[in-house]
Point group: C2
Chain length 210, copies 2
């Protein structure tokens, strides 16, 4: 099954790269500023923060005033003592990736076709890049598990709703299960998975990967 992971993996890779870029724009040089903001947002004096973190007041003062670059073990004491996590020590990344106000409409039959030997995918909402979910409507052509050269596995989770027909869902660590129209399944994609039509007409399913 080199077909399915291929098209899904490509889009997932794009998403991952975009996120990495956003992270890379984070400004680490303002660590001290952030520490002070966080401390004040919790209405803590240096003495109180000192008690919480196990770090000397003078150390905290020097960090906040950018007089020293703390060692990593000190940063961890800060994090644990202030009850935050490490990303919070950085300025909020610009929300470039978390666009607000996007919408994409896909009319019936007008998604992007993506045929493979076993499925006939119709990708939906393809105008939006960097989505949290990848939805598609699939006609299941496969009639036997033997049509799959190997298990498909990839990161993420999948929700699948049987719109019409019936299918046999194979997942790596469970017995195969037959799903009828209106049934649905949610599973972890790290385990191998495959779908086979069992109805006279090829089954049609709505699939969403995240």
């Amino acid at each position: 099954m080199p077909d399915e992971p291929h098209f899904l993996k490509e889009e997932k890779v794009q998403i991952s790269r975009a996120e990495a870029d956003a992270e890379a724009h984070v400004e680490p040089l303002q660590l001290g500023q952030r520490v002070r903001e966080i401390r004040l947002s919790q209405s803590l004096t240096l003495e109180e923060a000192s008690k919480l973190t196990g770090l000397a007041r003078s150390t905290l003062s020097k960090i906040e005033n950018e007089q020293i670059s703390p060692t990593f073990s000190v940063v961890n004491k800060l994090v644990k003592g202030l009850g935050i996590d490490i990303p919070q020590l950085f300025s909020e990344p610009t929300r470039g990736m978390g666009a607000v106000g996007r919408r994409d409409i896909t009319r019936k039959g007008e998604g992007t076709p993506h045929p493979t030997p076993t499925y006939e995918h119709e990708l939906l909402a393809t105008q939006l890049t960097k989505k949290k979910m990848i939805p598609y409507r699939t006609t299941v052509r496969a009639r036997s598990f033997e049509e799959y050269p190997e298990w498909v596995r990839h990161d993420g989770e999948e929700f699948m709703y049987v719109e019409s027909g019936s299918v046999l869902l194979y997942t790596e660590f469970y017995e195969p299960i037959e799903l009828m129209s209106g049934d649905s399944a949610y599973y972890d994609c790290a385990m191998g998975h495959a779908l086979v039509s069992t109805s006279d007409d090829d089954a049609i399913v709505i699939w969403v990967t995240a």
Copy 2:
């Protein structure tokens, strides 16, 4: 519309808390181990990494062998030089939240009912907590936008597929649009959104929130 954000927000809060917990369980004491893994995964010698990061070979060796706790400015040089981002410096969190091998089947009509004045939600895959997506099958009872006291807004994105009937999709920053059976929409939930049935029979949609 206090109904819809209510049930969605609760579950989203759970997810967010779970993720924060996973982050807190990250093991910072293995920084050196991670640095070595990353370096080797890029097939770099200490010398090459030294050139990329601007840090001495001996410094890198001492970090990797957990002999020193590097200052934060050194960590930043590491990150920039190796082209990674800071979270990657930590061991992958225990995959407790991203369990591998989960599957949940929901039979037709056997999801968890959640009726509201405007929708009749049937939550799917409810046996799985801490999911990336929240799927549900909804009968749209509302017949007019006026039935909604106010816009529904919440974090995340939604994919919606019209299974039967037709609906009018209202989103805050676009003209309302009518969707027929087989049409689908993907939109950002931070903008207000609402759905109204326009067909004789109440429309049925498959909704997924992430």
